[in-house]
């Protein structure tokens, strides 16, 4: 299939269907309502289920239920809606069920605004709900990458039996770009016979599969937490992803940036290069797991004097960047909020003022 011009939100919906996900439960919220709108038409005609829940809290448990039955399932929302879903997310992570959450982020806190933002970095990467758990978190920088990540997210969710979250800012959802869709996935959810509670008669088994997050014995819960921890470590070993830009040059500064913000940084880096100033960028595509070692190695390159974490928030990823650099180079945050997006010119000025 050739390329089509599609809005990010609609492309995300289409990608999920092509990934074999025929269950979508959601509650509309700007700036991602087009995902629900698109799927309300496309899912019924594809033989799937589109259901608008009565609230985001209810939606998160509909996802829990469907995932527990071994169905491929996803939802989408934007920041305040994801907060409401966070209780369910914690239960789903605790019960080790695969599913996908898309957060097309808007500014906060509270109702905030409806314009693009990356202010949910902490919420996505550090938990959001209660208890010791992590989501695997992917951060696309284009409509094409959003599509690819949605398609891959189901496979990752099933590999780890863990919820995967895709964080795009409002611009990724609202923008139209050319996209190509990969071939459809027709397979059943991976190894679902081992974990899905979908009736013993469906799988010729004498042992029931139990879906739960309650472990009253401290030994059992500790063992459960260690098992989850081992999964997060495996994610870092096997599915860490990042992209580098201008990393072959003798760069004086290293930018770490993700999503839409990283595209603005790329333009700034191109413009700086024309002036004879080399700056490199490392763009995490997975923000959990986080590319700590790659950032450490890139920061310690001889000529590199400073590391800049540039974000559409008040300084969140910078904490992970600092942790990665381990004090070997100065690390600074720069960013804006609420739909304001730093311009390439601002980033150029920032870099020049620090060199």
């Amino acid at each position: 299939m050739g390329k089509v011009l599609m809005k990010g939100n609609e492309a995300i919906g289409e990608a999920a269907i092509r990934a074999g996900c025929l269950n979508y439960f959601a509650y509309p919220i700007t700036p991602q309502s087009e995902i629900a709108e698109y799927l309300s038409r496309r899912l019924p005609e594809s033989g799937g289920v589109y259901l608008q829940g009565e609230s985001e809290v209810a939606v998160s448990y509909m996802i829990f239920g469907a995932a527990g039955c071994g169905e491929r399932v996803f939802t989408s929302s934007s920041s305040p809606g994801i907060s409401l879903m966070s209780e369910g997310l914690s239960y789903i992570a605790g019960a080790e069920l695969p599913c996908v959450f898309v957060n097309i982020m808007r500014g906060g806190p509270g109702l905030g605004g409806i314009l693009p933002s990356q202010a949910d970095y902490f919420q996505a990467t550090k938990g959001g709900g209660h208890g010791d758990y992590h989501l695997m978190v992917l951060a696309p920088d284009s409509v094409q990458e959003a599509v690819d990540m949605v398609m891959e997210s189901f496979r990752l969710a099933e590999k780890y039996r863990n919820p995967v979250m895709i964080i795009g800012d409002g611009l990724i959802g609202q923008m139209m770009e050319p996209v190509a869709f990969r071939d459809e996935l027709k397979s059943e959810p991976l190894n679902k016979d081992v974990w899905a509670s979908n009736g013993m008669s469906t799988r010729n088994s004498k042992t029931p599969n139990l879906v739960k997050s309650l472990f009253l014995s401290p030994e059992q819960l500790n063992a459960h937490n260690l098992k989850l921890k081992a999964k997060y470590e495996q994610m870092a070993r096997e599915d860490l992803r990042f992209e580098t830009y201008n990393m072959d040059a003798d760069y004086k500064a290293l930018i770490v940036s993700f999503g839409t913000m990283s595209r603005v940084c790329r333009t700034a880096i191109d413009d700086l290069k024309e002036e004879g100033i080399d700056v490199a960028m490392l763009r995490p595509q997975t923000v959990f797991p986080f590319p700590e070692k790659a950032i450490y190695d890139a920061a310690l390159k001889k000529e590199c004097k400073i590391v800049l974490s540039i974000e559409m928030n008040m300084g969140q990823m910078v904490e992970d960047v600092e942790r990665s650099v381990k004090g070997q180079r100065p690390v600074e945050w720069y960013g804006k909020c609420g739909g304001e997006i730093p311009t390439p010119e601002e980033i150029q000025e920032l870099v020049k003022s620090r060199l």
């Binding site: 011009l5 609202q174 923008m175 139209m176 770009e177 050319p178 595209r263 603005v264 333009t267 390439p344």
Partner: protein, 177 residues
């Protein structure tokens, strides 16, 4: 090379569709494109605008502060965005609704009575297509034949609107020449 076009006007003037048709045409020509709408809080009848970025290589920042060209379909849009247009760019003004000029002497200001031309063809709602074609005719940002083909494809499912829109394209080309 990267070029940017901002389309701006009232909600309902077909601003977003005009941008989409341009983006689609450039994509069909094998170029990289990004179509970025305004989606902030706006009241009914308020301003609508979108930016189309066209480039022969991967597009970095899709957020454009200074577009190369501007299509201003109403007065508030011209007043708001004319100062942002790059030097030597085109400012296309819908003179049917905008009596004032851009006040810039370093751009190519083109005044087209897009709404009147559209009404003469048969429907004021195709003023967006008249203006888009005028911009394409003047800037050659995409090929004129390619634009015609996109318009045909865009209305393939509403075939009865194709002749009207093709007439709007022709009128736009004529007005710009």
């Amino acid at each position: 090379m990267q070029q940017e076009v901002m389309f701006a006007g009232f909600g309902g003037q077909g601003i977003l569709s005009a941008g989409k048709i341009l983006a689609q045409t450039a994509m069909n020509e094998g170029l990289e494109v990004a179509w970025v709408p305004s989606y902030g809080p706006e009241m009914r009848g308020g301003t609508a605008y979108c930016t189309v970025v066209i480039s022969d290589r991967a597009i970095g920042s899709p957020i454009i502060k200074n577009p190369l060209h501007l299509v201003a379909m109403n007065r508030p849009s011209l007043e708001k965005f004319a100062p942002d247009v790059k030097k030597n760019g085109i400012i296309l003004v819908n003179s049917s609704l905008v009596a004032i000029g851009s006040g810039r002497d370093d751009v190519d200001e083109v005044r087209i009575s897009a709404t009147d031309i559209a009404r003469d063809i048969g429907d004021a709602r195709v003023a967006n297509i008249v203006a888009l074609a005028a911009l394409v005719g003047r800037s050659r940002i995409v090929g004129t034949e390619d634009l015609i083909n996109t318009v045909k494809a865009e209305f393939a499912r509403k075939e009865k609107y194709i002749p009207l829109n093709l007439a709007a394209v022709d009128a736009g080309f004529a007005a710009a020449s």
